[in-house]
Symmetry: C2
């Protein structure tokens, strides 16, 4: 039978090849922006790459500090504008309960993802469960509520942070 990491999202597989996560995300971002005629400038690229440095979401001011350490000395609006661009292109998601930003695992396909947030290690895994988004859509339909956006943030302890 499969081990406990069998079907987990990459974010929750400890030994996964994260360099590949980053590379794939950056390549896909470039492709999508090119296809859409959106300009993935050097600054925006750098911000996206910082966001992808780990599977824990990054705050705007943490990004600011990382850019500063790189030699650029941007001010907050610069960072927030880059984040706004990446949000519009759906290359990142904002985690409202953390005021922080994380890379989208499937920016090429429209989806309403759900985020599982580990309170201990900070890892956030994005999943896209039709059962969840469908249940929300059905409930909204009952109430004649026209849905524009679903935010689902689940806080708890991930498999790597609980005793077996």
């Amino acid at each position: 039978m499969a081990g406990k990491e069998g079907n987990l999202p990459a974010a929750m597989r400890l030994g996964h090849d994260h360099a590949r996560c980053i590379e794939e995300a950056m390549t896909l971002a470039a492709e999508l922006c090119a296809r859409r005629g959106a300009r993935l400038t050097e600054l925006r690229r750098a911000v996206l790459e910082f966001v992808w440095q780990s599977h824990a979401p990054l705050g705007a001011y943490a990004i600011l500090d990382m850019l500063s350490a790189e030699g650029r000395k941007p001010m907050p609006p610069t960072v927030y504008r880059a984040l706004d661009f990446l949000l519009q292109q759906k290359l990142i998601h904002r985690i409202a309960s953390l005021n922080a930003y994380i890379g989208c695992i499937d920016p090429g396909r429209p989806h309403s993802g759900q985020h599982l947030i580990c309170r201990l290690c900070g890892t956030v895994a994005e999943v896209d469960e039709e059962a969840i988004s469908g249940a929300i859509a059905a409930s909204a339909r009952d109430l004649q509520f026209s849905v524009e956006h679903q935010t689902v943030e689940v806080t708890g302890i991930c498999v790597n942070c609980v005793p077996d």
Copy 2:
């Protein structure tokens, strides 16, 4: 057949008796706190009543202004402490995507509610759909993720704000 307001939550029924919403919420809060040995002080009572003034969530600084207009001149920590108490007692919920606070419609019963947020009128309706919370719980179980809290915030247009 029932009208469009047939089974809607109170928040979305335009003509509902909101004075009764407030009264019931305050009465229940007093009962619950008494039962729990928690002190619903005059300040906490006032904050809870302000939060219940409408079905649109209220920011901490709006509450601060309302308390100021009443003659008290509290500073931010005072308001945040009252909000923390009300959150601990589960008399209110925090709406993360709005940085604002709203009364819980069923504080006596443990639940993980979902919030429908109308982008136009600001109304927030709390529902508790087992289909949603169950789908989230099931998905988390698959990932061996131990859930502590679910945040579900659905943004869109409520029935009173869409053309028929």
